[in-house]
Homo-oligomer: 421 residues x 2
């Protein structure tokens, strides 16, 4: 295919934004919440209904369906050269308990909209195209998060995933069986030529900068810690200030340091204390123990390490100065992930050719694309979401942004799958 | 009675420390917890058992019993001049859910030990002596705290107290009736010549200074606030640091200020944040709202007001600087309480004459004596408790300190009731 043809295609071919938007609203009915969001937890009856709705849509588009042993489901449009590794796109359709309509669902339905557009124009491609929905990306019901793509890529063992239990003690394997999505294909035993994922930004940068398309060069690495500060519980009245061992007051400096290290390594540093528990949590008792979470992120692995070193030094100083016990336990680590230069450039060029304003936006959140990156050239396309809000029932995105992202996805897939007619 | 006689008494008369200690351990069996503490919440079956145990002991000492309409129970040893207002002592026998053996119980049983000592030595007094246990001092099951003495002194309306409900919806009047302690005497319709209360310090100062007796000149005033800081909930990864509205980070400065104002007005200032709630309290979500309690105390009313002003100024500054909404609601106020100079001097002199090391200790905690102070000359006697720990099952006090406090109580009561034989 000559470069002129590609430009031609980019200029002419468009998805049907209205159809895409309708399908998003239709899928959002399954598990719809009163506040306009969606609650469709992984491997529940509602997830089953959602999966079946998506599969029915894929079947109506003439796609063939394969489900693997962890429930990842691949919907394939055959290429002229079936032996070529398929160009893949997708995301997930499970949601947070108070999730929105777009997160995850958009990546899957944008993929199907791309297929439908190709069907409408009877465009054939050299390589097959597959739309995938991964099992349990959210991790709300079962840990770890990004389970399906994690098992597919080999980063998470299938056994670990199978035995993961929800709070009622039900495990993933039983629940996959129950909803009829325990497939036969061994996870990962499935080629992939390249992977593209379209997603709402889940942050405010695009909206703030008034850009339509975010080209995602990388996903931040993150380190999660649980910090426990010991103090001595005592009555808030009779205990003089100078002999107190107030676990909360000693925690405050660490909580501030979490933000300080993020600011110190701006603009790609992040630091958040999201979860705090005070014991005994009584108005007139000096806190005897405080537990809190630490979430630090950065695009650069060595900087993320340095942030950790700085933080630990601060904690050590406080522990020494106050003669107290502070425990810091790492509970999660994802290294920064840089996407494929070819995919990034393809997405950027497509946005450019389509006339959409665009900018590079590092992803602060995790996505299935992180795991796919280890087995195929991978890229991500972001579109703005209202006020940067996600994982929330009020999550919102504009119809023309959803359409724009799908058009960029279409062009990117075509660039890799290659038009053959 | 000549002054020489009084000194004579002070030198000769002693309570039986072993007997007092045994009675404390015996009462502690009712509602005993596995960790060695006591759980005997106000107006429960266990409280009923405790009350009956105390009354039986009082009856065996020849005392007459009167219970008022709020369940306060007065145990009277008649004086030579029954028309004189009785010299009163006592405290409470209800406990915290994880309370100790001494808090409250000590004041009541030390009173009965004083009576038994007077009986043993066939000492008569001019004025009657009464030992009282007040209803629901702790406020753990029913609010407000110090209910019985509050109603007795007229500071709390009887109607308000009667309609106070526990978490199961049971009210005070019904529970008083159920346990058989709804008396007929109108609360407060009962004279009182002077009131003395012996209590463990509930703080570490006496132990720290190695003193046996604390002479209590005053009780700190306190102001309790609920503070709510609004932020904007957002994803911890994608949201850049500079556009965050992190409710926790903005709360930290206020929490620190609470301690700062206490230190600024040392040594009698106190500042504690004991209770914190973060919303949504999720590891990877920037806190959208934080609620926390503020407890500030001081012995001087105008200084306590100034601490409040300083705190409000700091809150206003943060709200303005960050353009955020911070709500500060006062939920409780007790002004500082200065005890009667005559009672204070009597206690100090008794400790001196008995050869006990002593010092003045301001009470940081509330006691029934605060309400009694409004209707009669009132004083308090503190003894050390281990590590200053109270409201805890490990609460502990030494037998000789318990004995010393009771001896000071005996002398103080005798100084007011006056020996007549």
């Amino acid at each position: 295919m000559a470069s002129n043809d590609a430009v031609q295609i980019a200029k002419q071919l468009r998805v049907d934004g209205g159809r895409l938007y309708s399908s998003l609203l239709e899928l959002a009915q399954i598990g719809a919440t009163p506040k306009g969001g969606v609650c469709r937890l992984a491997l529940t009856d509602l997830d089953k209904q959602g999966r079946q709705w998506v599969i029915n849509k894929a079947l109506s588009l003439g796609l063939t369906i394969v489900t693997d042993q962890i429930g990842n489901t691949f919907m394939r449009r055959e290429g002229k050269k079936p032996h070529l590794a398929p160009i893949m796109t997708g995301s997930h359709i499970d949601t947070q308990p108070t999730g929105g309509k777009y997160d995850g669902n958009y990546g899957v339905l944008a993929g199907l909209e791309v297929i439908e557009t190709l069907n409408d124009h009877q465009i054939e491609t050299e390589a097959p195209i597959e739309v995938v929905f991964w099992t349990n990306e959210e991790g709300s019901r079962f840990t770890p998060v990004m389970m399906g793509s994690g098992v597919f890529s080999g980063a998470i063992s299938q056994e670990l995933a199978y035995t993961s239990k929800d709070i009622d003690g039900k495990n993933v394997k039983d629940e996959l069986t129950r909803i009829g999505f325990l497939g036969t294909q061994k996870p990962g035993d499935h080629p992939c030529g390249a992977y593209f994922e379209a997603h709402i930004e889940q942050g405010p940068i695009l909206e703030y900068q008034d850009k339509v398309i975010g080209v995602v060069p990388a996903v931040m690495g993150l380190r999660w810690f649980d910090c426990t500060v010991q103090g001595f519980e005592a009555h808030a009245g009779p205990t003089p200030m100078e002999i107190r061992d107030d676990a909360l007051q000693n925690s405050l400096r660490i909580m501030q340091k979490v933000v300080d290290v993020a600011n110190q390594y701006a603009p790609h540093g992040r630091g958040t204390v999201g979860m705090v528990q005070v014991f005994p949590n009584s108005r007139n008792v000096i806190p005897g123990r405080v537990q809190f979470s630490i979430d630090i992120r950065h695009t650069d692995a060595s900087t993320l390490d340095q942030m950790t070193v700085d933080l630990k030094e601060c904690i050590k100083d406080i522990a020494t100065e106050k003669s107290i016990k502070i425990d810091l336990k790492e509970v999660s680590y994802f290294p920064p992930c840089n996407f494929d230069e070819g995919c990034i450039q393809t997405i950027r060029q497509a946005a450019q050719d389509l006339g959409y304003s665009h900018m590079d936006v590092v992803s602060g959140a995790g996505h299935d694309a992180i795991y796919m990156k280890s087995i195929a050239p991978t890229g991500m396309i972001f579109i703005p979401c209202k006020d940067g809000v996600s994982h929330n029932e009020i999550e919102d995105a504009k119809a023309d942004h959803l359409e724009a992202g799908a058009n960029v996805l279409l062009q990117s897939i075509l660039a890799y799958a290659k038009r053959s007619n």
